[in-house]
Symmetry: none
Subunit: 249 residues, 2 copies
DNA sequence: CGGCAACCTGTGATTTCCCTGAGAAACGCA
DNA sequence: TGCGTTTCTCAGGGAAATCACAGGTTGCCG
């Protein structure tokens, strides 16, 4: 299954299948709150979503829904994640799978699985992370030359989603994991005011219960690394949120 | 559900469904004064409104009314806002929801809500804010390429609701939150006299108890930023109110 | 032309929101 | 285990926004 991308007026790119229909994703998890959260977020990406609560349901849905990617929790009530994966593969040999695992799961079992081009995230995850990895999987499973989209550009600032490299005006910048995800979210929505609540919901894990001012703190970190001594690209809209835009404008 | 826009003779744009019928919005709040206030304001937008006072009523009404958007108070007598949301989602998976929350409500109760494209406003709100956010939700839930109407234009003055950017004759202008909302209200009603009472009811929170001359004050601020040294666009109709119109005409 | 009502705007008090330093806790890696 | 890095809390400082107040200005009417 190959994919293409289109760009909306705002510069936000969306994944589409070759025939122009939306990408299809199957979400499998036994916790209803998780499937709902993921379904909501992925639908907002413009994708078509189905969900299942156990292995049997997953296989059944997969057969008739024919998804382009699957999000699969390793812990299911009726069968082991590996069993589901095996049977899924018999039905849909080429569909990439994004595994959801508990943080303390045996890492090497997962590591073996991802060798086939699949990927995984640990619970609790951030939606940015899930969406980014899914986009990566879908892109790579399709036309190979689509890799170039993995680079986001705003003004003289670039961010590579594959290599995690960030540079401004050609100069490389080192970011921590959280800084990177925050910047990616901003750059995927350039010239658009994003509220602190939106940023928190998207960049931080769904179980984060801390102070909302972490967002301010990380914006401050980003500014120090990206805007330091240069024309600022990250702007505060007091009472509304933050936005990023090219320096010149 | 996709939507389209038309422009009325007054230059006022309205949201419509593809078949030309008005947008439908369900308002859910246990305080009658709030549902009445909102119903009145939203009907004035040309939308079709139903309201409910509790979760049970909301679900019942939603089933037969099939709204395009829902305004939902988090505090309901019979069930928790999140419970209502869950059941609502099972009935109408794609309907966007605008939550009403108390200002001092624990932040984590709204965590995750904006991730799916939903949004929220805190009580006490201004009607401009509710209407603007609802329009945004409805626009985005429909055809994705409808984003471009987020820009209001009157003469050489433009206001972008997404980026919160305002410019006159190409020159960027910085506005505070209140100035922005006031200008948006004026620009959404060009060439139309708006009384101070109307402006106060619309742009300021419904519990505002201050002096009515804040409107004069903020009009004065706006003039300083928008009309300064140029042909004025904001005009006073003594004894009646204010209006905005293109400079030339 | 005088007087009044409506409107404009300078000043400053108060509040709200945002930024950032310091340090504690958690994490990751050798 | 130990050490450097990263994440996050807390709190103080500071800037911006909001608004009340009051004196000045404008336009209207008799």
């Amino acid at each position: 299954m190959s994919t293409m991308t289109t760009t909306s007026p705002q510069g936000r790119t969306e994944l589409l299948r070759p025939d122009g229909s939306p990408v299809r994703v199957l979400v499998v998890d036994d916790e209803l709150s998780i499937t709902e959260l993921l379904s909501m977020a992925l639908r907002y990406e413009g994708w078509q979503i189905r969900s299942a609560g156990d292995g049997t349901g997953a296989l059944q849905t997969a057969r008739e829904f024919r998804p382009d990617a699957v999000v699969l929790d390793m812990m299911l009530p009726d069968m082991d994640g590996l069993t589901v994966l095996g049977r899924l593969r018999r039905e849909l040999p080429d569909v990439p799978v994004l595994f959801l695992t508990a943080k303390d799961a045996v890492e090497d079992r997962i590591a073996g699985l991802t060798a086939g081009g699949d990927d995984y995230v640990t619970k609790p995850f951030s939606l940015e992370e899930v969406v980014a990895r899914l986009r990566g999987l879908i892109r790579r499973s399709g036309a190979a030359d689509r890799r170039s989209d993995s680079v986001l550009v705003v003004g003289d600032l670039t961010l590579d989603e594959d290599s995690h490299e960030v540079s401004r005006a050609g100069e490389g910048i080192h970011l921590t994991a959280t800084e990177f995800e925050l910047l990616r979210f901003l750059m995927r929505n350039p010239r658009r005011v994003l509220s602190k609540a939106q940023i928190l919901d998207r960049v931080w894990s769904y179980d984060f219960g801390g102070q909302a001012n972490v967002v301010e703190l990380y914006i401050s970190y980003l500014r120090r690394k990206i805007d330091a001594g240069r024309e600022p690209m990250i702007h505060t809209r007091r009472g509304a949120g933050y936005l990023i835009k090219p320096a010149v404008s």
